[in-house]
Subunit: 355 residues, 4 copies
Amino acid sequence: MIHFECDYGEGCAPAVLQALSRTNMEQTVGYGLDPYSLQAKQLIADLCGLRSDERQDSLWRGRETAGAVHFLVGGTQTNTVVINYLLRPHQGVIAADCSHINVHETGAIEHCGHKVLALPTEDGRLTAVQIQDALLQHLYDPNIEHTIQPGMVYLSFPTETGMVYSKSELQAISAVCRQYSVPLYIDGARLGYGLRSPKADITLQELAALTDIFYIGGTKQGALFGEALVIRNPACRKDFRYFVKQGGGMLAKGRLLGLQFLTLFTDDLYWNLSDHAVSQALRIRQALTEKGYPLYMDSYTNQQFTILTNEQLERLQQRFVLSVVERKDSGHTIVRICTDWATAPDNVTQLINAL
Amino acid sequence: MIHFECDYGEGCAPAVLQALSRTNMEQTVGYGLDPYSLQAKQLIADLCGLRSDERQDSLWRGRETAGAVHFLVGGTQTNTVVINYLLRPHQGVIAADCSHINVHETGAIEHCGHKVLALPTEDGRLTAVQIQDALLQHLYDPNIEHTIQPGMVYLSFPTETGMVYSKSELQAISAVCRQYSVPLYIDGARLGYGLRSPKADITLQELAALTDIFYIGGTKQGALFGEALVIRNPACRKDFRYFVKQGGGMLAKGRLLGLQFLTLFTDDLYWNLSDHAVSQALRIRQALTEKGYPLYMDSYTNQQFTILTNEQLERLQQRFVLSVVERKDSGHTIVRICTDWATAPDNVTQLINAL
Amino acid sequence: MIHFECDYGEGCAPAVLQALSRTNMEQTVGYGLDPYSLQAKQLIADLCGLRSDERQDSLWRGRETAGAVHFLVGGTQTNTVVINYLLRPHQGVIAADCSHINVHETGAIEHCGHKVLALPTEDGRLTAVQIQDALLQHLYDPNIEHTIQPGMVYLSFPTETGMVYSKSELQAISAVCRQYSVPLYIDGARLGYGLRSPKADITLQELAALTDIFYIGGTKQGALFGEALVIRNPACRKDFRYFVKQGGGMLAKGRLLGLQFLTLFTDDLYWNLSDHAVSQALRIRQALTEKGYPLYMDSYTNQQFTILTNEQLERLQQRFVLSVVERKDSGHTIVRICTDWATAPDNVTQLINAL
Amino acid sequence: MIHFECDYGEGCAPAVLQALSRTNMEQTVGYGLDPYSLQAKQLIADLCGLRSDERQDSLWRGRETAGAVHFLVGGTQTNTVVINYLLRPHQGVIAADCSHINVHETGAIEHCGHKVLALPTEDGRLTAVQIQDALLQHLYDPNIEHTIQPGMVYLSFPTETGMVYSKSELQAISAVCRQYSVPLYIDGARLGYGLRSPKADITLQELAALTDIFYIGGTKQGALFGEALVIRNPACRKDFRYFVKQGGGMLAKGRLLGLQFLTLFTDDLYWNLSDHAVSQALRIRQALTEKGYPLYMDSYTNQQFTILTNEQLERLQQRFVLSVVERKDSGHTIVRICTDWATAPDNVTQLINAL
C-alpha cells in the first residue's frame, strides 16, 4: 500500500538523524538551555526578523525579557500552552469552527478552562469582518459579563483545509486584533507548506510581524517531532517557560529539539523540503483537474481534497491509503490526499496513473 | 415604570419571609443538615416519587447512598456543580446552542474543563433524533479519541424561549440517553412555569422518572433565592456534597434554603404562584394575538416573545420595561415580556391597553 | 441545648429582615445594579476611604475603572473568585497551613488550578519574614520555572484561630508584598470581630490601605448571608464582574445583598453587633482563665479555644454544643467556643456557671 | 567539564538510534497504532505479566477493555495524565512532600484541578501506616465534605532521593490502598535503576502486581525520550487514549516511542543499561564512604547524595558538574552525583581520584 493519508507517516529528514547521531554522546544541560537549542533559537529569531535575547538566564527578572523562541513537542501541546498563556479565565479564543483546536484536540482548550468561540467559514478561513463583528457583538452585549470575553484570535496557516490567507487578508485581521487589543496567534503546523504555496504572497518575516505569536511546524515538515514557537510580541514572553513546563512540554533532553531545528534551518533544508511536498501535491492537483475530478477545496498546498464516487474510492483504496473526510452522500465521499517532505515522486506518478 | 423584563424583579412570596422571620433567632446546625432542610428534602423527594435517605449522616460510606435532594443558591452554580459532577475530563455536555450554559454563564462550564457540544434548534428544544445523531457521530468517528466524548445531555424545561417539551418528546430523549448510558439533566429554573403551562402534559413525578437529575427553580418562582436539585438516579448521589462545597454552593446557614422550599411546597404555594404567572402571561399572549402582533415563539409559559416595530417599541418603553432580545432588522426588534409569581394583574391590564 | 459551636447558627439582625420585608414587592433590576446595591457599595467604599465609581455602567471600557465593591454570597465563593482573578496559571497563593483555603474549602482553589503554598505558623499568623523567605526561595531557585511562582498572599483577619495581626505586623507584610509586586488579600469573614477586639490597633481604613483586596464578612456578622468584597487596588478591578458571574456568585436578586449591607452599615449596626459578640466572648475568656482552664489560643475575638479533660467535656456537652477541634491526647480535647452577634448574655452566664 | 549533575545529559543508547535510522523512511499510521508500537506494548505487557489486548481497535466499546500499555513523551506529562484520569474533581493525591509532583512540575497537578496531599517523610519514602492514617483522618473528619478526599496514592520507585521500597513495604502500602479502594500509582522515571539496585528485592512482575498503574521510565534510562505507562488494573483502561490526546501526549509519529521501547526491551538492553549506571554509582558510593564523606541519603541507586565542605565543593567544581541540592549551613552543601546508562567508567575514576 502507498500512503497519502497524512503528512506524518515517515520519520525525519536524514540530515536530522545524522545530527542526532553525531552529537549523541555529548553531555549537555537539559530543558532547552543547551548550546544547540540557544543557537537554534537565535537563528529562528533572526529569520523572523526579531530581536531576541536567548540567553535564558536563570534569574526571574532576567527571564522576563528573554525568550522569543521556545521549542515544544507537538501541536496540541503548543496550542494548549499558548492559549492558556494568553487568556484570562473569563476569556475565550475566536477560531474557525473547523479549526484543529475546536474539533481535534479532545477539548484540550476547554480542559484548561477556555471556550472556543467558533465562527463558521466557507473554506476554513476567518475574515477580518467576522472577527470584528464578534468583538463588537460582545462589546455591546447588555449582559456583557454574562458572556465570554473574546481574548485572542486563532488562525491556521495554511488552514486544516489547505487554504492560505493572502497578505492583505492577514493585514486586515491583524489590524482588527490590534485595534481591539486582542492577540493574534497563528498555528503553523504546516507553515512551510503554506509559505511555499504558489498562492502565498507573504514572507516569514511579514507573517511574523503581523502576529503576536505563531509556531513553525516541525512534526509534519521533516523533523522527528517538535514545533518552534515564535513570540513576536515581547509582552507575551514573561514567564513563558513556566507554562511550557506546567504543560508537559519541557523536554528533559531539550537539545533534541534544538538540534532538529538547527538542522532544518541550515542551508534552506526546511524550505527545500516544503517545496518538494508542494510540488508533488500540485502534480496531483493537476491530474485531478485534468481528469475531471471535482476539487472540494481550492488548495495549492500539500493537502488536496476531492470528491470520489464509491466506485472510484473502492478502486483507489486497493493500492492507496487516502484519508476519508466524510461521506458526502450515499454515492460520494470527500477524501484528502496528502504529500509531505518525503513523498516519493514515483508514488505520485502511480497515484496519478490510477486516477 | 412597570417592569416586565425579567422574572426576578421582586423579593419573595410573603409566606417565605414570614417563615424566615418566625425562625430567625433559632440556633441550628449549618450546611444544610438542620431539621428544616432535612424536612424539606424529604418532602421534595416524596413529591418526586423518590425513595431517599435524607439523614445526611456523617460517615463517608453512609453518605454514599444518601442525598436525593440538595439545595443550592443559584442557577449558574447549580448547572456548574451538576455538570462538573457528571462529566469526566474528556467529556462534554450536549445542549441547545441557545441554552443558558452555552451563552449566559460566562463560560462557567468551560472554566471547570468541559466543552458545551452545542446543537442548533428551531425553538430551543433538542430532539431525540439529533441527540442520537450526535452520539453516533462520535461513536463512529475514526479519530474518536481526538474528539470530545458526549457525556451527558442538558435540557431546559421550559426552554429559555418559553417552550415546553411534551411527555412523548421527553420520553424519546430519555430513551436515547439510557440506550447510550448518557445521563439526562434538566435545568428547571422555571420548572413551575413550565409544568403549569396549558401545553404541558407531564407531571413532576413523570418528569423526575425520565431524568437522572434535575432542579426545581426557586429564584424565579417565589423564593428569595435558591434551587432544589433532585438526583433521581442513586448512582449520581455518592460524594455529591463535596461538589456543592467545592463549588461555593454550600450555604453556611443552609436552613435559609430549607425553610424557603418547605414553605413553597406547603399548601401548594409553589404551584399556585406558578399558575398566577402563567395566567397573566396568557392574558398578554391573547392580547398580542388579538391585536395582530406576531408571536416570535409559540410560548404558553411566563415568557412571551413578540416582534415590535420601532414605533411600537418606543411607545411602550415610555411606561414599561421590556427585555430586548435582539434587533431583527432596522425597523423591528424582538422583545421578551415576562410575568412572574408577583405580577400585578392591573399592571398586565395597563400593558394590554397600551399594546 | 445551648449552641456555642459556630457563629452562623441564627438568622440575621432583625433590622436586616425588616429591610427585606419593607422592600419585598419593589421591582428592581438584577445582578447587583439596583439602587440599593449601588448605594451600599458607595457607602462601603467611603467607609474604607476609597474613591470609587460605582456606576457599573454597561460598556466594557467603562467597567474597567469601576467597581471597588462587589457583593458575593459566601466565603468559599469569595475566596475562589478572588484568587482565580489574581493569579495566573503558573502561580500559587501563599497562606498559613491552617488557613481556610488550605483545609476547609474542599480544594476549591486547586479546582480552579492553583496550589496553596502553605507555610507553617504557631497561631495561624504569617509573618513578613517568612513571606519574604518564601519569595526569595523561589526567586533564587535554580529550577525556577519547574516550581510554582508565588503570586499573592492570603491572610485571615482575625485568623481561623481567633488571632489578630497588629498594625505593625500588617504594615511589614504589606511592605514585603509591595516590594515583590505580590498582591495581598485579606479574608475578613469575621472582620468586625477582629477590628473590635481589644487587641486590634488598626482601623478599617488603615487595613484597607495596606491590602490590595479584602472582604468584610456578613454571613457570620449579622447578615442572612453575603460578603462585601473591597478592591482597594484599582488595577484589580477590571473585568471583575465576569469572574463573579463565572464563579456562580452573581445573585439574580442582587439587591438582597445590597440591602443587607446597607442596613448593617447604617447607624453603626455592624460595629455594635461586633462589639456584642466580642464582649460575650471576653466574659467566657475571663471565666476560663479564672477557673484555671488553659487557653489553647490567646484569642481576644469571638472565638475562644481551651483544652478540656474528658470529664469536663462530657459534663459540658450535656447542656452545651461546643466545637471539637481535635483530640489532644487520650485524656484531653481542644474545643472552640464561639459567640456571635446574637449570643444571649444569659446563655453565656449559664456556660460560665457550668465551667 | 565532566557531568554528573543529572541522568539525561546524553542522547540515547546507540541501538535506539540505529532502529530509528533503519525504519526512518517507512510509512506507518500515526498516534501509536503502528505495528512497532503494538509489538512493543504487547512485549511490555508480557514482561509485566499482564493479559492485554493491544489491538487498539477503533470502536468506542472495543477500546474499553484494550490498552494495558501506553507510550507518553515525558514524566511530568505522564504524571499529569494519570492523576487527571484517576481522580474525581473533589479528590487529591497522597504523595511525599519531596515528591516530583509536589515540588518540580510547576503545579501541573493543581493546574488540572487536584491538590497534592503532601505527607512528610524522612528519606522520600511513604509508609503504609501514614497512608492509612491520612485515609482514616479524612474518613472520620466531622466536616468530611469540606476537605479533599484522598483519591489515590503516588509513590516514586526509586524515590527522588534514590531510595527503594522493599517488597514488604510495597505489599503493605498496596494492601492499605486496596482496603480503602484507593488506586496506587508508581512513578518509575528511574525504574530500572531502582529494580537493579542491590537493595531491591522485588521483580518487575511483582511490582506490577502490587500497583494499579505505573510507568517504566525511558528518558533517563537509554531512550531519547519517552515513558511506558502500564495499566495493570483493567478498570483503569477505559477511554485512556482520550486523556493522552487531551494532555498533549499523543505523538503523531507514535512509532518513535514504540520503536525505542521495542529496542530497549530486546536482548535485555534496558536492564544492562540499568546495571551499568548502578554499578558506576556504587563505585562512587564506595569511594565516598572510604574517604569519609558523609552519605546524605543511604542510596544504592544511580543517584548518590553527600555533604561537601565549601573547600571540597569548590575544588570539585573546577572539573566536575554536580547538582547542588541545598546549602546545609554556611560551611556545607548537599550535592547529588548522578550516573546513567552512558556514564564513562573513566570519568567515574577521575571523580573518585579527585574526591
